[in-house]
């Protein structure tokens, strides 16, 4: 009778005080109220906004920083292939 | 302490779920025309105002009723209708300053908010808190806090503007 619904089981995976990096897709914890944050896993940097004190979200990239990282990342990759 | 229903149009999103749950609770049907609470809308301005009985201490409906069908229930702080006494003259509708007395054309009788006998569903279902059921003393406290919050926000902006100059 008390079998949980699909939705209930999915909801268990929710986390707060963190966002998912939009480059490497790792979960990243972040100090409350931070306006930007650099992903400790991949170094991409994001501008954040806060829906509540424990609910950050990515608003957009830190444009210049991420452009540079992407270029470096791709030139490395190309060298690796050659 | 007795509780009161407070209606806050600034929070209302206009979804009218309150009207729906009210008619289901009281009549077992979905029909906002038979709801005790009503969202009055100015659609082209995006203004939505919840209206319901204020359960007035000195209730004009009670005063005007020729057969004393309306009475005060002190335990729940509400004005109640005695349907056995009511003759359906609709004087209460005419005099209510909030339009909170209405006439159910299907049941052919007046209807008004009865606070769902202490658990008002409209408040229970209003996720944004545009309708809340709180201790009577709290109503003005809530108003004060909201007003003070706005005021301090304005003062901060003014202070910032001045320091920028």
């Amino acid at each position: 009778m008390n079998e949980e619904t699909t939705a209930e089981s999915v909801a268990k995976g929710r986390t707060y005080g963190a966002f998912r990096c939009l480059n490497c897709f790792e979960r990243v914890s972040v100090p409350t109220g931070a306006k930007t944050h650099k992903c400790p896993h991949c170094s991409f940097e994001w501008r954040l906004s806060w829906l509540s004190p424990d609910f950050p979200r990515i608003r957009g990239p830190v444009w210049e920083a991420n452009r540079q990282l992407a270029e470096e990342n791709l030139s490395k990759k190309q060298k690796g292939v050659n | 302490m007795a509780k009161v229903l407070i209606l806050d149009y600034e929070k209302c999103t206009g979804c009218r779920l309150c009207e729906l749950v009210c008619s289901v609770k009281h009549e077992g049907v979905s029909n906002p025309a038979r709801s005790r609470v009503k969202i009055v809308k100015w659609e082209s301005e995006g203004r939505y105002v919840p209206m319901s009985c204020q359960q007035c201490e000195s209730a004009p409906c009670q005063a005007v009723c020729p057969v004393k069908a309306l009475s005060r229930d002190e335990t729940l702080n509400r004005v109640l209708v005695d349907y056995d006494a009511c003759i359906g003259c609709r004087m209460c509708i005419a005099i209510c300053p909030f339009g909170a007395m209405s006439f159910d054309v299907l049941a052919k009788r007046i209807i008004k908010c009865d606070l769902c006998d202490g658990v008002p569903l409209c408040a229970d279902f209003c996720e944004v808190g545009a309708i809340q059921y709180v201790d009577a003393g709290q109503q003005s406290t809530i108003k004060q806090v909201t007003a003070a919050d706005k005021l301090s926000e304005i003062m901060q902006k003014v202070a910032q503007a001045i320091s920028a100059v």
Binding site: E8 | L17, N31
Partner: protein, 635 residues
Amino acid sequence: MALNRKIAYIELTTGDIETKPIPVKVRNMFLGGRGLDMYLMYNHIKPGVDPLGSDNVAFVSAGVLGGTLASASARTHIGGKSPLTGFVGSANMGGFFAPELRWAGFDHLVIKGKAENPVYLWIQNNEIEIRDAKHIWGKTVHETQEIIREELGDRDIKILTIGPAGENLVRFANVMTGIKDAAGRSGMGALLGSKNLKAIAVRGTMDIKLERPEEALQYNKKVIEQITSAKVSQTQGKLGTPFIWGATNTQGLVRVNNFQLNQLEDADEVEAEAIDKVAVGMAGCFGCQVHCRSKYVIPEGDYAGVYDEGPEYTSQGAWAAEPGCRSLNNILVCNHLVNIYGLDTLETGSLISWVMELYEKGILTDEDTGGLDLRFGNEEAVIEMIHRIAKREGLGDILAEGPLRAAEKIGKDSIKYLVHVKGMSNLHSDERPTPGLALGIATASRGSDHLRSRPAIDLYHLPKQVLRNIYSQPVPYDGPVTSDYRDYEGKAWQVFWQETCYEAVDCLGICKFHTVFLGASLPSFEEWSKLLYYNTGLELSPLDIWTIAERAYNMERLFNIREGLTREDDWLVDRYFDEPTSVGIPGVRGKTIDRDKLKNMIDEYYEHHGWDEQGVPRLETLQRLGIENEPSHIL
């Protein structure tokens, strides 16, 4: 009971009106809303009719849960043969119209023929009247509603209407209700316009009797908790659909300058948080806790002080990404203009961006544009083009014919730059890095569209187990699932599943934001089974609802095939295969769709449906669904 709403047949040429009850047998086959409309479309529209001729039929409906204690059961569906694509026309809007239609006693309107002069319908408690609309012909969407309410003397009347664009038979004109709710896609506004039908006004005060009111209240409370506890609902309730931009543009998944770039760089004013700054609050559709519509007043410029609602995610694309514009004001103004003219924001923006590329490539000259400088980023030119399309002036008149007809008129290489499927322009999403999403737009029944079958949660990199949980209910699935949106494996099933899920909510009349579209923990088949039981008494298992949705989608497929659709129509334009993406995060750069892999996905997608390799439903599939003898003309 909740099922006793009727169907009305309205013959505008003669003025005859007939009403019929909807048998429970039909409910069990198609429920209502889009599903039953698809049955009616296949039965009432003769093959090969001119979509703008009097033989086409318009369908307006509420879902079977409309106006009940199922959250956000406010959706109105509009159907007919599409003036844009010539295939299934089908569009869906929120607001308050559908519940009001049900309180007035009706679930489905079947509108035939053509009125001699402009008319509108006035529907009140089981009565339908055809009224003169000469005085509102030419009025905007917002004006029309005010005038009708004033005229009929009731401020609670709900109205659906077309704007000047629909009157002018712009092939992607929409049907609207309220300030911004729009049945946007596939040109349903042109269909109503071709019938000289300006609007439908409705007011109802009749009970919808719920089967088990106490349980319906309790269960609805639980579902509301499920909806409001989801992070996506909280985000959407604050920022509206523009929140999506934070994920898509950030990674490089939107089309910019028509289809030349995949990220609008350095455009912070376009972000949801910037729009939120001018919002004056949020509004909700009937019975909805998500309240995802921003209310705003245009802060500056020629339209300063004007009130409107939205803009949605689609408008960020249509008025920023695609035409390469970067100001918030442009989005607000353009959103307002399409709302008052009654134009599909998405199709309009997409076509304007296309001609901007043609202009920059020299295919269109200053002479063709009437002197307009249509270079990307020119906001004044974009605004001017909206006026010209709605009024069918100059180049606007050509674009008003929709992508394929316009490409034919413009000629040269113009069609090479067009981004469409089945003659319908795409959302501003760039699906080159996301094969699942690409398959969705390639196969969607109404043309390139993100609301037919998009597995949007694919973008969230959800754990495999979560995906398996979702996608193996209510029918078992043990094929591959992957968390990476760049993969091809398993996506055909996801698209099939989402397509069936979205068809189901459209039959029920529930909003897609209340199911597994943007959030993985939102209600689906299990919850709907209970909602149906408590509210209407229909006893349908999750699997039964799935089958109904599958049946309805097969009716759409049959309709399209009867109108000449072949496998070739389930395909993308060459740009998806030949031009790699160039910006965004490293993972989405250099991406194209692989032709062979897409072909294999389509094979698999057909196989999941029980369709043959040409995409035609097999006889055994039709028999399994009980529609092998359609059209059956029961209703």
